[in-house]
Symmetry: C2
Subunit: 318 residues, 2 copies
């Protein structure tokens, strides 16, 4: 029997794109999601390729019980854990949000490995685990983690939770991928998404968080998924990879300029006075991506290209 | 103003002993506990030295809100975080128990540091974080953690949660103490406690979990507290210490023999056939305690002495 792609958070931004691609390639896909902050609709039905289950992955025991009838008959499962609170700013209000939606869902993913025939486990981690290195590039070998946001904090503790159990899952190959800013069709958050919403409300003037000199690496969701699919195949039981573009990032000012020129050329952008856009933000960071390149990943995409491609599909989303 | 000793889990076994000692020394003590599995009664009232607050420390936001009126006026707080699910076996049934009572209470402790004037933070961790080293002694430098029990897993993730925030709390000195088996008056669990309950039910014959060749280091609660008080004073902002006896442990068979001779000399002990007493148990382990000795801690207590002293106060507990 064909293996099953089980996607936790498969109705979200990256999960939806991944599900579409795997489905288009003829792979079986089961999406498990709470369908909050979702691109895909839970009513979209099931067919030979796609099926969906709506449940709260933060309640481990209930979730495992609910998944049992479906998963126990599967002989090979590839588990993609993309479920998380994706709104970093909302998570700053209380640790409970990221605890529930980012950390507890990871415990459920780990229990899923224990309970069912999971051959590959892929965890979507984040640059936010590193914290503020004052723009110095993060490497996978750095372990002086000091996450600023509750989001990064719970992504880091999720990584540790996986690490502390890896001896128990000898038949599962594990990948932890640390993502930079990800953009593309079906976005549900982030600077491009936010600014686009603001232009819809007031097309003459928009307010930008921070002074615009924030600089971060961006990747297009299709390049991110391609990188994950490639790095999954590396012959190793356990690896952590940064996935990022070939450059060190793009400044928010340039994103704003590209966006206004594309969408609303006469719109005026008003910038803030501080570098930090919001509490928990890491205003400047970059990735060392030598490890993924050494594994043979071809990195020929830039942050600017990612932004330009994301702007092209913006109008299609409403 | 005199500093406040804030004891999370202060109604439990170790917490009660600590509260009594600090109180006897004239220090102010505030016990915060859910008063489940508690030695001390929540109705015991407050005086100049002791006060108690009953609340669920696993709900971070609610707990911080409830503590605010009391703690915001304090200018120096020593926070002892001893709240946890102390029954390792019960925790094996579902990860939710240790997640809630061990991990989530630690997140509340970390938020407490952030919100209030905490000068010292002491966290009660465990030998269970290391996992099964086949009896080889655990050292604080070992970091190939593979906890077997959910208890050890959540103690380890609690340590990581503290570690990942230590950069944020520059004014707080932090101690993580890893305990061996702890015994003494006011025990609420553990091999001596269990066997004593069994003798109460059937004084002629008791069943012992495992074959009796389990070997573990034991410490008496009074020695443990003395060690913590000493190691708190070491001039360092952040340290992790194993706290243990001078020997490598005592076998369960010897504990059973000491106990029967003391309590019920004609009782017959029936042993199991396997080394492991129960799922999640580490049947043989020992501590490397060189680090605490190098810090000047005088370790002149043995596992056997701890057991003998614990047996002496058993009858006083009912």
């Amino acid at each position: 029997m064909n293996h099953l792609n089980l996607i936790f958070g498969g109705a979200g931004f990256i999960g939806s794109n991944l599900a579409d691609l795997l489905g288009a390639q003829g792979h079986r896909v089961l999406i498990v999601d709470n369908f909050i902050n979702a691109y895909r609709n839970s009513e979209s039905g099931s067919d030979r390729i796609f099926s969906t289950i709506q449940l709260d992955l933060s309640e481990t025991r209930d979730a495992i019980d609910a998944l049992k009838p479906v998963l126990r008959q599967e002989s090979e499962i590839k588990l993609w854990h993309l479920a998380a609170n994706s709104d970093i700013r909302i998570g700053q209000e209380s640790i409970g949000v990221d605890l529930k939606n980012t950390f507890n869902t990871t415990l459920t993913a780990i229990e899923t490995i224990k309970e069912f025939a999971v051959s590959e486990f892929i965890f979507a981690s984040s640059s936010a685990v590193y914290g503020d290195f004052q723009g110095l590039p993060f490497s996978e070998d750095d372990n002086d983690f000091k996450p600023e946001s509750n989001y990064g904090y719970m992504k880091l503790l999720s990584e540790y939770a996986i690490l502390a159990r890896k001896h128990a899952y000898k038949n599962t190959s594990i990948r932890i991928f640390r993502f930079p800013n990800v953009v593309g069709s079906k976005m549900t958050h982030g600077v491009i998404f936010d600014l686009y919403k603001k232009i819809q409300i007031n097309s003459r003037e928009i307010e930008v968080l921070g002074n615009g000199f924030q600089k971060k690496p961006f990747i297009h969701v299709s390049d991110l998924i391609g990188a994950m699919l490639y790095l999954n195949k590396v012959d190793s039981k356990f690896e952590i990879y940064n996935i990022g573009p070939m450059d060190t990032g793009i400044e928010v000012r340039e994103i704003v300029e590209l966006m206004i020129n594309k969408i609303q050329p006469d719109c005026i952008a008003k910038f803030g006075h501080n570098l930090g856009g919001w509490e928990g933000d890491i205003p400047r960071y970059s990735f060392n991506i030598e490890k993924s390149k050494s594994a043979g990943l071809k990195v020929d995409f830039t942050s600017k290209d990612a932004v330009i491609r994301a702007l092209e599909t913006l109008n299609l989303e409403d």
